[in-house]
């Protein structure tokens, strides 16, 4: 995207009917490190890549528990994500207190989206620079939503956001039809595989990724490092065998992914809002 004369203010339309500040906010999401989510009928898994600034620092927390039945993974401006998580936790706890019942995810997501929309229509505010993958259970089952800075929200079977998320999306697109009936452990494996795709060659280690689960009878929690490492080790072995077969496929996918990364902006530039 290139600078133009209609991008100073979020409340200024461009002649083509675009709000550039909102689109720039969505760029911020694309710059953040990857987060992925996928669901079956009964469970939802959230995963993210943890990038530490330097070897000396710890990595940023990108997955937040919102309530026993809802969790969120963020990509983009982590600070904005933290503030929104606090809002979500507040809404959940207030609803729980008044109704002694868990807040349906679908309603929380709409409230979030409406909050984001406000920031696209006030000259003294700015849109949130964070994309949220909201995972939650309600009466009608397991749900995964994506909330974007524009105030739109979508429900997904599986999704990935952040940098190099296209690689994960490609993997998920190939596999998502099986997810609905997958077991919890298979889902976690798929999540780890998807995260590995975004690392593009780097070794997948439990110190560089975080995985969280929520499901029927299983409150939202982040898996501890050892469990994650065990699961990585379990499928990495199998992965190596598949590696040679997949290598050909991978090489074809890699340049495609690289082009998608750089070309991604101009690609999505044509269709202004996340559709």
């Amino acid at each position: 995207m290139f600078r133009n004369q209609y991008d100073t203010d979020v409340t200024t339309w461009s002649p083509a009917g675009r709000l550039f500040q909102v689109e720039y906010a969505m760029e911020a999401v694309k710059q953040g490190s990857a987060a992925i989510g996928l669901r079956s009928k009964t469970h939802i898994i959230l995963g993210c890549v943890n990038k530490a600034n330097s070897e000396l620092s710890s990595h940023q927390k990108k997955i937040f528990k919102v309530d026993d039945h809802i969790g969120v993974a963020i990509a983009g401006l982590t600070a904005d994500g933290r503030v929104l998580s606090r809002y979500m936790r507040n809404e959940c706890i207030n609803y729980s207190f008044t109704y002694e019942s868990p807040l349906p995810v679908g309603r929380l997501v709409v409230q979030l989206a409406d909050k984001a929309q406000v920031c696209t229509q006030r000259s003294w505010k700015r849109p949130n620079g964070v994309g949220l993958l909201v995972a939650g259970l309600d009466e009608s089952g397991a749900h995964l939503y994506y909330n974007c800075p524009s105030g739109n929200y979508f429900e997904y079977q599986a999704f990935a956001i952040g940098s190099r998320s296209q690689a994960a999306k490609t993997y998920l697109e190939r596999r998502f039809e099986n997810f609905a009936d997958s077991s919890r452990d298979d889902l976690v494996k798929d999540a780890l595989m998807a995260i590995r795709e975004t690392l593009q060659g780097e070794t997948l280690k439990s110190s560089t990724c975080t995985v969280a689960v929520v499901g029927a009878g299983e409150p939202f929690h982040i898996l501890d490092q050892e469990t994650v490492q065990q699961m990585i080790d379990a499928f990495e072995i199998v992965g190596e065998q598949e590696g040679s077969a997949a290598a050909a496929g991978q090489e074809a996918a890699q340049p495609g992914a690289a082009v998608a990364d750089q070309g991604g902006s101009t690609d999505e530039g044509v269709a202004p809002m996340d559709i």
């Binding site: 008044t98 109704y99 019942s101 309603r107 709409v110 309600d138 009608s140």
Partner: protein, 244 residues
């Protein structure tokens, strides 16, 4: 124009609020509500009387109302406060429906909402002068709870308000069991209501029975109970009394 400050006794502990702004006592009141869980859902009974002190002034007061798809609310106490509560719940259900998302507030949620409302009003020394019974069925789960004007709330297999607690609940404790049929449930409620009719001076012989199941709720047309006054003890009540 001069404004008159509202008069307050010097020793009022409640600060600057005027006494006319809060509930001190009820005016038009309903008497007991009795309810029990049965095989398919909840059965609730209440008479149709609205007393104005000791006068049985209004005789067609509907003290039970359906709330949303899944609940039934019965109230005793101040009728105008009951109407106010119905107004709050109307708004609550309206907003719930406006989400249009397949989720709906069940009886547990409505009960807890009411508990919050009643307790908050009590804390402001301005109670809604009611004892409420909230029953319903959602996703096969039966729910029956009660809230008082001071916010005391609990759930049980059978509940009652006012005199019902003293006269009806002992009967229910003896004779209630899981999976009552509809006819047995009605018979049991009528037994309770008959005792209340005999012994509660604010009861009238015109009652409704309401039922709520997974399919929905119905409130019966008003009807009356058969009573028997020919007990020999009633014939000559003062016989043997001191001073007669």
């Amino acid at each position: 124009m001069q404004f008159m400050a509202s008069k307050q006794p010097e020793n009022s502990l409640l600060g600057p609020e005027s006494d006319s702004q809060r509930t001190l006592y009820p005016y038009v009141t309903g008497t007991s509500v009795v309810a029990l869980k049965y095989k398919d859902g909840i059965l609730m009974a209440a008479d149709m009387g609205g007393s104005y002190g000791s006068t049985l002034r209004y005789k067609s007061v509907e003290r039970m109302k359906p709330i949303g798809k899944h609940s039934l609310l019965g109230a005793s106490g101040e009728i105008s406060d009951f109407q106010e509560i119905l107004h709050y719940l109307d708004e609550l259900i309206l907003y719930d429906n406006m989400w249009d998302d397949g989720n709906s507030l069940g009886p547990k949620e409505v009960h807890n909402y009411l508990t919050r409302v009643m307790y908050n009003r009590r804390n402001k020394f301005n109670p809604l002068w009611n004892s409420l019974v909230l029953g319903g069925v959602k996703n096969g789960q039966k729910y029956l709870g009660t809230v008082s004007m001071i916010g005391v709330n609990f759930e049980d297999n059978h509940v009652a308000t006012g005199f019902g607690n003293h006269l009806a609940r002992p009967i229910l404790r003896q004779e209630w069991h899981e999976n009552l049929s509809f006819e047995d449930g009605v018979r049991l409620l009528e037994k309770c209501m008959r005792v209340l009719l005999y012994r509660d001076r604010s009861a009238i012989n015109k009652l409704q029975i309401a039922k709520i199941t997974e399919e929905g709720s119905t409130i019966s047309q008003p009807y009356s109970l058969k009573t028997y006054w020919e007990f020999s003890a009633f014939a000559n009540p003062a016989q043997g009394a001191v001073g007669s």
